[in-house]
Assembly symmetry: C2
């Protein structure tokens, strides 16, 4: 594939992705800010998105579900394996809509530093599930120094507690025990139910936003930048673990919901494209 062709594919889906067309203004601003922070930080280390156009943007037959997917691989010299951004919008039978936006960053096996993961799930204008974490890439029980370096010294727990204190915040338990196992002990897994829409937007602007920016900044400063030696024997373990996490994540996140929301054909097409990146 030649470079201009790359660029063309990249340019096609990108405006639609960064439009975040179905979410509220504070929600959109936050997503744009995070995406642009990551892209500015890594700049030329990130290759353009080369997903097929009908995976960069897709919808169901009835036109009630729309989605955008944007994946940019890291340059071979970069610790970034790839950055994945997405949004999904689905009209619900009750007249409402489900909106999911996500941004995640996967490092390659040149480092064992944690990844970055954020997902905002709105099943109504007054309801929000937030998943925000730096998922570890090692068994923390076996590596207290890793736990200390990435989770204690970074004071991630203080960020979690900032949100926990808000009266509308409740803990969120993923229905998947595997996802619960993948996240770190300082993972922010919360459900927010507000009485009014305005209050929800205020919570996103004044509380969720600052915490998400801070966690992303910690990830950029402490995980994505620093060189860490990974021994040859460790690397095999790391690749095996990364691959398993990614495979299971697709299975849990996409394999169950995409066919239902977009039909089997589109679901297959999208999953096949994502799988290429997810095999470590």
């Amino acid at each position: 594939i030649s470079a201009p062709f790359h660029m063309e594919l990249h340019n096609e889906g990108r405006p639609k992705f960064i439009e975040f067309p179905y979410v509220s203004s504070p929600h959109r601003s936050l997503m744009l800010d995070l995406v642009s922070t990551v892209e500015t930080y890594f700049d030329s280390q990130l290759l353009p998105c080369t997903l097929p156009p009908d995976v960069q943007y897709y919808q169901n037959q009835g036109g009630t579900s729309h989605a955008s997917l944007h994946i940019r691989s890291g340059h071979v010299s970069s610790p970034i394996d790839f950055i994945l951004g997405s949004w999904i919008h689905c009209q619900l039978p009750n007249g409402g809509a489900l909106n999911i936006t996500s941004l995640s960053a996967y490092l390659n096996s040149s480092t064992d530093s944690p990844n970055f993961l954020m997902e905002l799930i709105r099943s109504s204008p007054t309801s929000l599930v937030l998943i925000l974490d730096l998922p570890p890439r090692k068994d923390l029980v076996l590596d207290p120094e890793y736990l200390q370096k990435f989770y204690e010294d970074t004071k991630l727990e203080a960020q979690r507690q900032l949100l926990e204190k808000i009266p509308e915040v409740k803990p969120y338990f993923s229905s998947s025990l595997y996802i619960r196992s993948v996240v770190s002990p300082t993972a922010i897994l919360i459900r927010i139910e507000s009485e009014k829409v305005e209050r929800m937007e205020e919570i996103i602007e004044d509380h969720v936003g600052p915490v998400a920016r801070q966690v992303l900044q910690l990830w950029l400063d402490k995980c994505a930048s620093e060189k860490r030696e990974v021994a040859e024997t460790e690397r095999e373990y790391l690749q095996k673990r990364d691959e398993l996490v990614r495979t299971k994540t697709i299975e849990i996140d996409l394999a169950s919901s995409l066919p239902r929301l977009f039909g089997p054909e589109t679901a297959d097409r999208v999953m096949a494209a994502v799988k290429e990146y997810f095999s470590a």
Copy 2:
């Protein structure tokens, strides 16, 4: 050490241990029931407690803190490494008291099945922290079949949800990130604050008790009984992980609190005795 001497030491501390003298009647009944269930189940597989008498029961100089510790090793042919039961009672400066009771069971490396862990922490008659879990002995992220077998198929999540539904129940986050990493994705980590003492006793009797008994029964049926082949290469990993978990647990649980509550001399004596069991 001769057998009669064994028995003598055993008999000395045991009545004091099973007395659970400072906790309420439903709390005491629950602990007694759990201890007797485990002891009846394993029966002659459990050796008598051989801790020194001044570790089986100890107090501080002022007589405001009292504690009992009861450890019974498993017979060599048993999958049980040891069973540990304890209670701690400390008068608080405000006139109240802190009461902690615990029961845990550690398997040896003939099996990689999960351990059993329960702790009840009462910092006042209307406050209870419950830690109830079957902590995994492998990295669940790397072993989805282990996760399936011990946590999904056993429906432990349903037990967690039974307690979560009670209005007075809030999630409990251990201040130690290591402890958070050690527990399973279905761990019951809750704080209960009731308005009245009677309601707390009702919650213990009608809700905490049945769930604790059910989780213990699941552990007996699915973890402690079944033979599991552990390959030689796996065994080394298992021993390393078990040892690390135990060492860190002592450090976090005891090394910080015992000197404060019982003075450095008693703390050293107790910790030295416990460490002998905790080195896998």
